[in-house]
């Protein structure tokens, strides 16, 4: 690691709020990555007929387990439970016995159910466990946000680099295109498109990426405009280096700092967009676990405050953590703060 990177890392870790936020966020995200093992309507591991089964990874039919139906085994069904445990086997369940799409058949009352020992955060109006939906929804939000950030940052950096490096007519035209493009009302366009195409994860990702690369362009372009006249760039030209190589090897590494500080904020923006679309009902296909859908449930069922509160607290905490991390990264890259941390200005 270069001394500069080391200094930035030290600066980041010495910012307690950002550092702790990062760890909390990583823990939550890490857990949610293994959602299938945390909240599922299938056992993780099962001992049955002297064999180990892994229902969480493999779909077994009830017949294979010695039952009657030639369909996917429903492990929550007392019949299947009896089948396994009655013959001396055992089942290792995840801590939450419901998946995001499991409608609980033994609710014991009308949905939505308030929190109880069976459903820690209650259920929504289709009898699905809120906590399970929350965990899956968190995962899809963060993954969506990360992918969107990577894609829009790549597009933004590439376009900003070309504009800034070549300047002149390229820059002039590029800036006009960016201005017109960023003037389009994104939500309205997505709503119109959603009435033509059935939205899916990647379809949404593509649409949002098409509109979210502009914020990076501005910073990268500005850095390139500044850097392209530096003497080390002119020295590279004098060495006979071609434009692509100068951009990638000489200018880009110096312009990335500005773009990097933007990424956590783009990430939280991306998560917010997805949540908003889901809330409005133009997001992920019906039935998917998502935070926006959870908030929408809360709005529709004001008599069940646990739905709205869960959604609100989760989105609030997640965005707050991301902003704290973002601030930490921004400060770590700030050269004035990396001198000694004593605030010499």
């Amino acid at each position: 690691m270069t001394p500069l990177a080391q200094r930035r890392l030290n600066q980041f870790t010495s910012n307690k709020r950002a550092y702790r936020s990062l760890w909390i966020f990583l823990t939550l995200f890490g857990i949610s990555l293994f959602s299938e093992f945390v909240a599922n309507d299938k056992p993780i591991l099962m001992y049955h007929q002297d064999e180990l089964w892994m229902p969480v990874l493999v779909d077994y039919s009830e017949k294979e387990l010695g039952g009657e139906l030639d369909a996917r085994a429903a492990y929550w069904d007392p019949y299947v439970e009896n089948l396994v445990e009655g013959s001396g086997g055992w089942m290792l369940w995840p801590p939450i016995r419901f998946s995001y799409r499991t409608a609980d058949m033994y609710l014991g009352g009308p949905a939505p159910r308030a929190p109880n020992s069976r459903h820690w955060l209650g259920t929504d109006d289709a009898g699905k466990d809120t906590l399970a939906r929350l965990i899956y929804g968190f995962r899809i939000s963060v993954l969506f946000g990360l992918l969107l950030t990577i894609i829009s940052a790549s597009i933004g950096v590439a376009i900003g680099a070309l504009q800034g490096y070549f300047g002149g007519v390229v820059d002039l035209l590029g800036q006009r295109v960016v201005e017109i493009w960023s003037g389009l009302p994104i939500l309205v366009i997505l709503i119109i498109l959603a009435s033509i195409v059935e939205p899916s994860f990647f379809w949404l990702l593509g649409c949002l990426a098409a509109f979210s690369w502009m914020s990076v362009v501005a910073v990268v372009r500005a850095e390139f405009l500044r850097t392209r006249n530096f003497e080390y760039v002119r020295a590279a030209k004098a060495l006979g280096d071609n434009d692509l190589s100068i951009i990638v090897r000489h200018v880009l590494p110096n312009a990335m700092t500005a773009a990097l500080t933007f990424l956590p904020f783009i990430l939280s923006g991306a998560i917010t967009s997805l949540t908003a679309l889901d809330f409005l009902g133009f997001g992920l296909p019906a039935g998917s676990a998502s935070l926006g859908e959870l908030l929408n449930q809360g709005k529709r069922n004001l008599q069940a405050p646990w739905l709205g509160l869960t959604g609100f607290i989760t989105v609030g905490v997640m965005l707050t953590l991301l902003i704290f991390i973002g601030e930490g990264i921004r400060d770590a890259f700030d050269p004035r703060k990396t001198i000694s941390g004593s605030g010499f200005k």
Binding site: T2, P3, L4, F230, E231, Y232, R234, A235, A236, K237, A238, L239, G240, D241, S245, R249, H250, P253, N254, S340, S342, G343, F344, K345
Partner: protein, 528 residues
């Protein structure tokens, strides 16, 4: 018996925990000129800024010391006291006239504001006073009081700064490198102004500089500083004629560079430039011809093998533009013939073949190395482009040789530029240029940003490398002393034209043109 104005005893300054000045004592009498001389990082500016307590406290601190202004202690004095002292008793002018003035305010207003805010004068009499001050610092009536800073030249801005500093008739003027950013001829005018003002107003002057020529003509007493200490103190004549401390001797020796080694005058011409013109487009209308500014106007010259061609002139004379145009880094008209090949008509792709033979070293040792590449990557870059057949091991061994050629150690290969001093960085730039074994290197002010003693080392290095690899330099500089030490042939430029050219010795000893004489005068004997 004159009165003590400032008495500094045992002053130390520390930033965070780094001591930068240790136990410095000096005094300034009324009406006297004291010079603090030293290289960058020697603590001279920091010592001077301590007097009006202008350091970034509390990041900076004084572990010890006392500063007395006419017997009154300034160290640890309250803000009210210090505010009363700053400007009215002690004022300052800085090095950079471009950034010392607020670009959004008229110059007159910036001076009046100072007088009105300090309750010296009311608004109307302040306006009169400003006109008076502008006359005093030699800003004639053509400079309007309501001009904006960008309308003025560097020298004029420095005059405005001086007017501002003098507004409250201070007893001490601290001048921090007042002429470093200015052209030689302007430098001379500013120095003359400072000297005459001092005589007329009877104020004391604390001059901070690395430029011994400036000191020689202005200072009565000199303190030589080196790494935070005063190593020698004495009156000017004594220090220049009989320096005692080794460091002072070293500084003085660095100033006098020897003549360049002889070059064979019969050697062949490797490049000839004929009627070269460079026009910058400065404005474009929708219809009609673009507006242009001629930066280089019809320059013709020849460059001979083994020679150094010096190009001198003030800023804006087109000397850097000329160098860039010869390297075909700028569009130009006219002929550039290099080793029998016509370069001016080549396309960028065909030009690549010649890039290997034509290299450049820039002025700014901080801007010319990419901060995110290691020394080995920076020097190896040219090899990567021109000798892609080399494997990593071969490339590194060539890079290592180049590094040793420029007097650096091979364990520096994996380090990043920010770990090096200005002089070392300039060596890295030179290594980057010579690693390809070029024929011609354009040196664009390679020593201007360096301290005098480092300058002389770089000059020695350039000579050494030139002899070893039979290089031709196109040496662009405004510093005539350095040019004299290197150039065999001299071209004097002004406003894009060649004023005079000829054998270096001849031009230096008996300049034909008035402008050349003026330049020589200003450079070698600032105040007669």
């Amino acid at each position: 018996m004159t009165n003590r104005l400032i008495e500094v005893t045992d002053l130390s300054v520390a930033f965070a925990d780094n001591a930068v000045v240790e136990g410095v004592s000096f005094h300034i009498d009324e009406g006297e000129t004291l010079a603090l001389v030293g290289e960058s990082g020697s603590g001279k500016t920091v010592s001077a800024l301590s007097i009006p307590q202008l350091l970034p406290y509390p990041y900076a601190g004084h572990p010890s010391g006392s500063i007395k202004l006419m017997g009154e202690e300034l160290m640890g004095a309250g803000d009210t006291k210090l505010l009363a002292v700053r400007g009215s008793e002690i004022s300052m002018i800085f090095q950079e006239p471009m950034t010392s003035l607020n670009p959004l305010h008229k110059i007159g207003r910036q001076v009046t504001e100072l007088l009105v805010l300090n309750n010296v004068l009311d608004k109307r009499s302040a306006n009169e006073k400003v006109r008076e001050l502008f006359d005093l610092v030699g800003l004639d009536d053509s400079i309007r009081v309501d001009a904006y800073p960008h309308e003025l030249s560097g020298g004029q801005r420095q005059r405005v700064m001086i007017a501002m500093a003098l507004a409250q008739e201070p007893k001490l003027l601290i001048a921090d490198e007042p002429t470093t950013a200015l052209d030689v001829t302007i430098q001379k005018q500013i120095l003359e102004l400072l000297q005459s003002l001092q005589e007329r107003l009877g104020m004391a002057l604390l001059l901070i500089t690395h430029d011994l020529t400036v000191v020689r003509s202005l200072a009565q007493r000199i303190c030589v500083m080196n790494s935070g200490r005063i190593v020698e103190e004495g009156n000017a004549k004594q220090i220049f004629t009989a320096p005692e401390h080794d460091y002072t001797k070293h500084l003085l020796a660095a100033e006098f560079l020897s003549e360049p080694p002889k070059a064979d005058s019969a050697s062949e011409t490797i490049a000839s430039i004929d009627n070269l013109e460079v026009n910058y487009v400065i404005g474009r209308q929708w219809f009609g011809r673009p507006k242009t500014l001629a930066a280089v106007k019809g320059v013709s010259l020849e460059i001979k093998a083994g020679h150094t061609l010096g190009v001198v002139g003030e800023s804006g004379s087109g000397k850097t533009t000329l160098g860039m145009a010869i390297l075909r880094m700028l569009p130009s008209e006219g002929q550039i013939v290099f080793m029998g090949n016509e370069l001016s008509s080549l396309k960028a792709k065909d030009m690549k073949r010649f890039r290997k033979d034509l290299q450049i070293v820039f002025q700014d040792p901080y801007g010319s190395l990419s901060p995110r590449m290691t020394v080995s990557q920076i020097i190896g870059e040219g090899l990567r482009i021109h000798s892609p057949e080399l494997d990593e091991f071969e490339r590194e061994s060539i890079v290592r040789d180049a590094l040793i050629d420029v007097g650096l150690q091979e364990d520096m290969l994996k380090r990043y530029p920010h770990e090096f001093s200005g002089g070392q960085r300039q060596r890295i730039s030179i290594a980057r240029a010579i690693v390809l074994r070029p024929k011609l290197i354009v040196m664009d002010e390679p020593t201007s940003a360096l301290d005098v003693s480092v300058q002389s080392q770089i000059v020695d290095l350039l000579r050494e490398v030139q002899a070893k690899y039979d290089l031709v330099y196109l040496f662009i500089s405004h510093d005539l002393k350095v040019v004299r030490a290197l150039a065999h042939y001299l071209v004097v430029m002004k406003n894009g034209n060649v004023i005079e050219q000829g054998e270096a010795g001849q031009v230096f000893d008996s300049p034909k043109e008035a402008y050349t004489r003026e330049l020589m005068d200003a450079a070698f004997s600032p105040l007669g």
